[in-house]
Symmetry: C7
Subunit: 95 residues, 7 copies
């Protein structure tokens, strides 16, 4: 099964976050604020959204930073995804 986003929606998968504190202790992902870095899994077609022409600017595989309070969590086949509007994506993270 796969998610095919509508309009300006984008399906994201959160990147795992492990972090070493300054004193060297590793904090597992759950103990921290939800990381905002994610990978783009699927991109809607864009087009006319609420009477405005939206051109999609991210592509599948991009690593992105998205807005902290945005998006809807969905679960499919035991995997968790976040669906956001393109406008909630703040930046692409380039290697």
């Amino acid at each position: 099964m796969k998610l095919v986003p509508l309009g300006d929606k984008i399906v994201l998968k959160q990147l795992e976050a492990e972090e070493t504190t300054k004193s060297g202790i590793v904090l597992p992902g759950q103990a921290k604020e939800k990381p905002q870095e994610a990978e783009v899994i699927a991109v809607g077609p864009g087009g006319n959204i609420d009477g405005k022409e939206v051109v999609m600017q991210v592509k599948v595989g991009d690593k992105v930073i998205y807005s902290k309070y945005a998006g809807t969590d969905v679960e499919l086949d035991g995997e968790e995804y976040i669906i956001v509007k393109q406008n909630d994506i703040l930046a692409i993270v380039e290697a």
Copy 2:
């Protein structure tokens, strides 16, 4: 009796959710957060909605993910439906 949605409205029927926890216990649907997966039962004609041209992008029978806080629950002939705007549909789930 059937529901004929107006404008950009879409009639959904929630899919039954049963889930096995990692330890193997089956949780019935009611014990969990409302699942957001639903089947499209009827689709409005779209057209000019609040001065904006809306083209409908889902069709009857599509399995969709919809926004958690969207929609109105209605009951007809003992069956429960959710009526949402197309904009509240996040993605189509393809097999």
Copy 3:
């Protein structure tokens, strides 16, 4: 006396609701959440509403489902009506 709605407003009359619980007890309408099914009594002319062209899509006699939190209750000649905007009507119920 009759109500002649302006613009995109629609006069509705709630349908009586009686319901049998699964165990067979009949609950009178007042004991339950306000039913959202209503009959269309009068339809505004539509036209330019706040600078947007609105075409009316329901007609007198239609049975409709309307949005739970919408509308204004009015009483005329001892009868109760609800006046809603067309946009608050979710679907027409067809026999």
Copy 4:
């Protein structure tokens, strides 16, 4: 003195409300929720309101139902009026 409303504003005068309960007791107007029926006293010229063209659809003398939470109460020469926008008028009551 008289009130000359600007733009899409309309001056209303509330109609007196007396009501007989089902058991026959007459409740004076103050004891009940504010009645929403009023007579149109003066009508603004309409025209370009916030960049939208508004055509006035009520006339002096019309009996109207207006939205419960709309309008500003004003007092002039010991008389009380309500000034509403035309959009807050729900319906005209015809005899």
Copy 5:
């Protein structure tokens, strides 16, 4: 010193309010709710306000009724004024 309002703003000066209750007691202005009648002291040039063309419809010297919750109180040379947008003026009071 004088106030020259920008855009669609209007400088008002509240009219003094004294009122005789039905039993004949005179209440000084401060003891009552703020009166909403005021005189127009200065009128902005109108024109393009937030992308909308606004034509000014009141003139200096007009007595007006303005919206209860609108406006900013300012003090200049010991005099108090209220600056409102034209849209907050409900009606002109004509003698």
Copy 6:
């Protein structure tokens, strides 16, 4: 160092306020509500702001009254400034 405002933003410097009460006591500025009179220090270029054409109507040196709840306080080189949008400026004070 100097502040160069973007778009329709305007840099203001609050005018010092000392006030003699009716009984002759001088209240220092801090003890009172923040005065809303300020001098224009720098003016943005205007132009297309959120898709609307904004023409700047104030100039450096103007004394202005600005909206009580508007603006952002900033400190630069030990001096305090307020940055507001032009729309938050209510009137120019002319001598």
Copy 7:
């Protein structure tokens, strides 16, 4: 790794703030309200944002003042950044 902002977004890095109180005590940055001065690290391409044409007016290296409640904090490679919309940048600080 680097952040490539989308649309009208801008990546900022807060400038370190140390401040000497009037009595000469140095307060480290954390003890004070978050300083609003930052350096521009990356600038989105602008263009059509929600149907409005946005031209970017800041460039990499600019020192800017940004709106106190705006932006999203992100961390990348142990460095903290703020991503804001251009509209949240109030002024450029010129030397």
